[in-house]
Amino acid sequence: MNLVGTVLARVMLLITDENFWRGIVSIVVFVMFWEVGSRSQALFGFAFPWVSQVPPPTAVALEMFHLIQQPSFWVSAYLSTVRVFEGFFAAMLVGIPLGLAMAVSRTFYGMAFPVFEVLRPIPPLAWVPASIIFWPTQELSIAFVTFLGAFFTIVINVIGGAQSIDVRYFQAARSMGSSTWDIFRRIILPGVLPSIVVGATVGVGITWAVVVAAEMISGGGSAGSVGGASGGGLGFFIWNSYVGGSYTQIVAGMISIGIAGYMSSAVLRKLGAWMTPWLAEG
């Protein structure tokens, strides 16, 4: 009863929200324009530039409907997701302590930051060839590249977050008798947490961008060579569709990645909001 009530209240809140309807309208208009544009040759006798080259959304939707019934598609999605989160968690595991260490110790900052700043502008994809040479398996080299995608964003956010903590919090804590460890645990950690959440949310988006490109370049990892055309992750799936000339599959693959990336960010945002209740409005 209570559950039904809260669900109902949520639905009411959603359908009375103007921005919800703005979103619906914008998506519908976008899809309609796309549909008309890609069928422009048949409808008006001339081809719209660019859009007419893209398969229409109805065909893509049909393709997706077929795809989601094929286990091999889910294997691809699974492989990419695993690679994304391997890289992402490794980046969190290494990046957060490194960022905190740089924020806390001036000495360490002085030593580590220049190296960090030289490596940071190198695009993760530029690491792909080197990574293939460094790591024994293709799987590891792809995971390493996805790691790099999230790593720098997370570290930069942790450092920035720690440096922007109000100096009065430290003064107040010291006045009240806090030890250094106590200040670290109860002031610095919670003070940095919102920045970690931001870094993680942005970082996971970059990770999806990177994993797809890395799969395309390195040929979908070891699983790709074993499982054949559809065993190498979503990036390889798209590349394979391109090679095979199936344009609807390309777009379907792109949309799957969009959805996967959105869901990853949404989950992290939710998790982040749960961990930082003091930032909630109201």
Binding site: Y169, Q171, A172, R174, S175, M176, R186, P190, W278
Partner: protein, 295 residues
């Protein structure tokens, strides 16, 4: 319930028996920057914050009052001279001297209750007595219903009260307040002044209060220190012997209070601290002179 009552009694006893510490500032100077480019902010400044009294410091904004507060709190060391709490030189921050900052410095990631319990937990004193004391203070500052709220969910006035409670639970020997009611709207500000005056009246601990508002100073102070502009020194010290508890309305009417205000306004620095600049101060002096002439 009984524990709460005990805690209240404990807070009361410990505060009324000892009236807090005496603070002596002796020939203190503070300069920033390297030798040649050094800027002297405080120069040869001496004053005493008396035990159990409320000393208010006023002066134009940017005159180094906050520097003096950082020195008293021990966040910084003076370039020359020394500061003493009960004849002991101040060498660093300590729980005996707590600062309530200009804008709220409550930890945003802690609830009201956790903020108040910060000090005791920092010292490993999360005891039933302390929890009961926190309870008492929550009630004293009228935030019992807001114990689980985060600072961002409190109004400006509530935040200041929470901060007062967070300081008071540590039973500091000296409370230092750096323009604590700045930025509050006129109504809330007056309520907070009354609130604060009542708390002081009840506990009578050594208190050092910095403000730029001369009316606030007269309403609260046992003694007013008027500071000069940079480099900061004490320009004048005025004793305020109005009976407590005071009443904001009575104070604007009281001849004694007006005489004190007049006396303070004769110092250029205090003029700048009066309501909205020296025009209002000049008007006041004119009106006051007329009134004295008539009587």
């Amino acid at each position: 319930m009984q524990q709460v009552a005990q805690a209240a009694a404990q807070l009361h006893a410990s505060t009324t028996i000892s009236l807090g510490s005496e603070v002596i500032v002796k020939n203190v100077g503070k300069a920033y920057g390297a030798e040649k480019f050094a800027k002297t902010v405080v120069h040869n400044c001496s004053f005493t914050i008396e035990r159990g009294k409320l000393t208010v410091m006023i002066g134009p904004s940017g005159c180094g009052k906050s520097t003096l507060i950082r020195l008293l709190a021990g966040f910084e060391r003076p370039s020359t001279g020394d500061l003493f709490v009960d004849e002991k030189s101040i060498t660093g921050p300590g729980v005996d001297r707590l600062v309530v900052f200009q804008e709220s410095a409550l930890f945003p990631w802690m609830t009201t209750y956790d903020n108040i319990m910060y000090g005791p937990r920092a010292r490993g004193e999360d005891t039933p007595q302390m929890r009961a004391l926190a309870e008492t203070l929550l009630q004293k500052v009228g935030l019992a219903a807001f114990r689980r709220k985060y600072p961002s969910q409190l109004s400006g006035g509530m935040q200041r009260r929470a901060e007062l409670a967070r300081s008071m639970i540590n039973q500091p020997k000296v409370m230092i307040l750096d323009e604590p009611f700045r930025g509050l709207d006129a109504m809330t500000k007056r309520l907070m002044q009354e609130y604060f005056a009542n708390l002081f009246n009840e506990f009578r601990r050594t208190t050092f209060f910095v403000t730029t508002d001369i009316d606030e100073a007269i309403y609260l102070a046992d003694r007013i220190l008027i500071m000069t502009n940079i480099p900061t020194q004490v320009r004048a010290s005025i004793d305020v012997n109005l009976p407590r508890p005071r009443n904001v309305e009575n104070i604007t009417e009281s001849d004694e209070a007006n005489a004190i205000k007049m006396q303070a306004l004769l110092h250029e620095e205090a003029m700048k601290s009066f309501a909205r600049g020296s025009k209002a101060a000049a008007d006041f002096i004119e009106a006051y002179s007329k009134r004295i002439g008539k009587d």
